[in-house]
């Protein structure tokens, strides 16, 4: 566990898993998403935000059922468009903590354009992509992260389109926090989501979450219990030791690209974090402050009356 700063407890009782639990999940037994949900409860318990200030939102897909299972304000939007919706929540209500959940189809396929533009605009919100590399809700079609050779109902002979590299896509789009985790590693997921929630900007965690029904064993390569290699990213401590020179500096974009380009299954952890780029929330608030200063904080009625007086 890392030493991420946790905000002071909100007044009143601390948030408990009991308070945060809503409908029973509809996922198939064995689905990786259960572990993501359990980790998210832990994250919210640790963050201990006032319950009414938390928003859990999602698009469409198996994983996008998430908001029904979390007892916070939230919603279930249309396929692929949850990011611009969540940006509207965050920009319009700077007092809220906005979490968006979705799958690889939602995030990288139908919502690909929104991922790129949300990343570049940097609104303050956290996006968790539960990547199972298959369309599960519609029962086994090729997804944008399905590996070449994956046999699906739309590619019975094996997929041959080049899959997306999520980490490279996110880095290239300008996301200010990019991390990767695995649904079999609860502590790691909690750590990554906590860091993401505490990042001031658009933070993304991709979690490899196996679909036991339609793509069994997809992520065994990174699961030691299935003979795979679990390799986490060792972050630089800036302690001046020789071994520290070999550690990853998450502010180094080029190093992040190199990590993102490693062969499957690659590494897990924080690839990139940019703490200097202002959020869209901050930029819009600055614009408002500057503008209101120029208009000397005139009331809405005064402002509009002035406008009409100019039309006389």
């Amino acid at each position: 566990m890392s030493t991420v700063a946790v905000p002071p407890p909100a007044p009143g009782a601390p948030l408990t898993k009991k308070a945060l639990t809503a409908d029973h999940p509809t996922w198939c037994p064995g689905c990786g998403d259960f572990a993501v949900l359990a980790s998210f409860y832990k994250v919210l318990e640790k963050l201990n935000y006032p319950q009414e200030k938390i928003v859990t939102f999602a698009g469409i897909g198996c994983s996008s059922r998430f908001p029904y299972f979390v007892n916070t304000h939230g919603g279930h939007y249309i396929h692929g468009r949850s990011l611009p919706f969540a940006a509207g929540i965050s920009l319009g209500r700077d007092d809220l903590h906005v979490f968006v959940f979705g799958g690889d189809g939602d995030g990288f396929s139908i919502g690909g354009n929104h991922l790129v533009h949300t990343a570049r605009k940097n609104p303050r919100l956290t996006y968790v992509i539960m990547d199972n590399s298959v369309y599960g809700l519609t029962k086994k079609q090729t997804s944008p992260t399905s590996p070449i050779g994956f046999k699906s109902k739309t590619d019975p002979w094996g997929a041959f389109d080049q899959p997306i590299n999520p980490m490279r896509t996110l880095l290239n789009s300008g996301a200010t926090f990019v991390a990767r985790s695995h649904a079999t590693q609860v502590n790691h997921m909690v750590d990554m989501m906590l860091r993401a929630a505490n990042h001031d900007g658009f933070s993304v965690v991709e979690i490899l979450s196996e679909c036991v029904e339609f793509f069994e064993g997809a992520f065994d390569g990174a699961n030691p219990r299935k003979g795979g290699a679990w390799q986490t990213i060792d972050l630089k401590k800036n302690d001046g030791t020789p071994e520290d020179a070999l550690r990853h500096d998450p502010t180094d974009e080029i190093a992040a690209f190199k990590l993102a380009s490693e062969s499957w299954p690659g590494k897990f952890g924080v690839f990139y974090e940019n703490k200097t780029r202002p959020t869209k929330n901050a930029l819009e608030q600055k614009l408002i402050a500057n503008t209101r200063e120029k208009t000397k904080n005139a009331s809405d009625l005064e402002l509009l009356s002035k406008t009409f007086a100019r039309m006389r």
């Binding site: 304000h73 249309i78 611009p84 919706f85 509207g88 209500r93 533009h117 503008t291 809405d300 006389r312």
Partner: protein
């Protein structure tokens, strides 16, 4: 300064009396290229008329090319009620040969052609009009000095017209100074030099005086002059809109430009999104956060937003959606006028998707209907589409300044704690969401959703619940319908013909009604502003007329009826409901409506009441 080969101004002897003739209203068409600033001249004239308490109506075409290309601005000003920008012009200002050739036919017989002798050679045999050649370009260059080239000839023409119609020089000078305020002093000086040169042009015989409007009643609101998109943007602000999102598209864009600049002054945010779908989504995100929110677009953009609008109906989320219609389908005629998005507005999207559709009838109505849209969206938790069009969006009209203090809508999210009985989707009452930040007394936090749901927002495919929830979403709009006032019915309250219209056809239909009644027919006029749901009582009104003729700017379709006509026939099963439609991308001329109605009625004279001669024509003034 008139070159010898061109006809000069009228001889003094042609005047029938020595007095300056007075005219009730005048239609001036300026024709040039888009970079000539003719829209600025039109704007000055329109605002001057507004400041002089005179009615004013304008018509403009914007070329879709980036710079250059023919462009016109037509302004009609005068006393009395001006309802349309005028079928034909009394004065044509032609900057170029193509301007002259394309627009000569728009001049009424007896009208005045003012042409730039530096660029135009008119037909010397054309005796139907008075052609006056003026070296507009070279006179401007001479007046302003060489460095500005021909920039400023628009202001030269403004000076010319000011003298011709005895307009208020101090007020105009003030307008010019306001317009260029904050710019280089040279610009103001050059503008005034060009104006004075035009004003001093010796065309002593071209002198008219516009009839003075009746003095405004004591305590009357001052007139304001603006275009439809501006009126709509500020109407949204008055309604309480502080948040919105959109993607640029003509002719919608000017609203988003205004809101992007204005909303921060009010503490709000307007987001330019990566596409139309993101814009609808971000706007819905603002709405979910508890704000009155808008998105907007033009035809093709509205199509892209449709899935999101389906969600807004299902999740019962308040949202204002503006659609500035243009010629379609596809990219179609982006700078032309058409009313062909009505069915898309009402029935677009998927599933049973009831929503509210409103249509402003003129520029002033854009302001008030925006406020009405805000009220309905909030009260009924529903998407509300405002269907404006290119004609209303871009034309300038004068109207009484709104009493803003009485109109400003609420702007803050309602995050009061909700008690334990709160249900996000109650079956027995209206949905009013608890935005995030609201503490839930039940301890259960609501999920807004596009899945069919029970009263608490839990997903369900229960057949009974889907029936009940579908009925709920429909019945709330029926309830809204029952509260709507009967649409204003002008003219004869029963008789031969009821003319029905929506949107920008208001003025031409109303004038056409007047002419037809002048010819002895019993004619009424109703302009529908609430398109969906319709106000109650229409069937009874329709039953009092032999013909109900719906005037629309769209195609008659496969079955012979325009889009509103199809809706009304479907609603009322009244075979007397028929259509007048057209698809030339232009607003209706009054004469087009009169002729087609007169034909349906079998009137011998289909040109009833048309002003055949220009008010400026000499023989007509005996």
């Amino acid at each position: 300064m008139v070159s010898p080969s061109t006809p000069g101004p009228l001889d003094a002897s042609q005047r029938l009396s020595g007095e300056t003739p007075s005219v009730p209203d005048v239609v001036i068409r300026l024709a040039g290229n888009s970079q000539d600033g003719i829209q600025a001249v039109g704007g000055f004239l329109a605002r001057l008329a507004g400041r002089s308490d005179q009615e004013v109506m304008t018509y403009m075409t914007i070329p879709s090319t980036i710079s250059g290309g023919p462009s016109i601005f037509q302004v009609r000003m005068g006393s009395g009620e001006i309802l349309s920008s005028g079928d034909r012009a009394d004065v044509l200002v032609a900057f170029y040969q193509h301007s002259y050739e394309s627009h000569r036919a728009s001049l009424r017989p007896g009208g005045v052609l003012l042409y730039d002798t530096d660029h135009v050679t008119p037909n010397p045999d054309d005796k139907e009009i008075t052609a006056v050649g003026i070296p507009m370009t070279s006179a401007t260059v001479e007046a302003v000095g060489g460095s500005t080239k021909e920039k400023g000839k628009n202001i030269y023409v403004l000076g010319l017209l000011t003298r011709m119609f005895d307009l208020d020089v101090p007020k105009l000078t003030q307008l010019i100074k306001e317009r260029f305020a904050g710019k280089n002093e040279d610009i103001v000086r050059n503008a005034m030099l060009a104006f004075d040169a035009g004003y001093a042009y010796p065309a002593e015989n071209l002198r008219y005086r516009l009839d003075k409007a009746a003095a405004p009643a004591a305590g009357a609101r001052p007139q304001v002059t603006t275009d439809g998109n501006t009126a709509l943007a500020y109407g949204l602000i008055a309604a309480g809109v502080r948040h919105g999102a959109a993607y640029p598209i003509t002719p919608w864009s000017s609203i988003m430009e205004t809101l992007r600049v204005e909303l921060p002054k009010y503490g709000g945010i307007f987001v330019q999104c990566e596409d139309e779908i993101a814009a609808a989504s971000t706007a819905l995100g603002f709405a979910y956060g508890g704000h009155l929110s808008i998105t907007g677009s033009s035809g093709p953009g509205l199509s892209l937003k449709m899935e999101a609008l389906g969600w807004a109906t299902m999740a019962e989320m308040p949202l204002i959606v503006v659609n500035i219609q243009r010629g379609g389908p596809s990219t179609g005629m982006p700078t032309n006028i058409e009313q062909s998005d009505l069915m898309q507005a009402i029935y677009g999207s998927h599933g049973d998707c009831p929503r509210v559709v409103l249509a402003p009838k003129n520029v002033e109505d854009c302001f008030y209907l925006a406020i009405e849209a805000g009220r309905i969206a909030r009260e009924y938790s529903t998407p509300v589409i405002i269907l404006s069009d290119q004609a209303i969006a871009t034309r300038i009209e004068a109207f009484p300044e709104p009493e803003l203090a009485k109109l400003m809508g609420p702007t803050k999210p309602d995050v009061r704690p909700r008690d334990a009985s709160f249900k996000p989707y109650p079956l027995d009452q209206a949905t009013h969401h608890a935005p995030p930040g609201s503490v839930m007394g039940s301890g259960k936090y609501p999920t807004v959703t596009g899945l069919e749901h029970d009263e608490l927002g839990h997903p369900t495919a229960n057949p009974g619940l889907h029936m009940k929830m579908t009925a709920k979403r429909r019945d709330k709009l029926k309830k809204l319908a029952s509260t709507l006032p009967a649409p204003e019915l002008a003219g004869d309250q029963s008789g031969d013909v009821l003319l029905v219209g929506w949107g920008c056809t208001y003025g031409p239909i109303r004038e056409a009604m007047g002419r037809l009644r002048g010819a002895g027919a019993k004619v009424g006029h109703m302009q529908l502003r609430h398109i969906h749901p319709l106000a109650p009582g229409l069937a009874e009104t329709f039953a009092r007329y032999k013909h109900i003729i719906v005037v629309e700017i769209n195609d008659e379709g496969l079955y012979g009826y325009g889009q509103l006509t199809t809706l009304l026939r479907g609603c009322f099963c009244n075979p007397a409901i028929e259509s007048i439609t057209k698809t030339d991308g232009l607003t209706y001329k009054v004469s087009e409506i009169v002729e087609r109605v007169a034909k349906k009625l079998g009137l011998a004279d289909t040109t009833v009441g048309m002003r055949k001669q220009s008010v400026l024509s000499i023989p007509a003034r005996s």
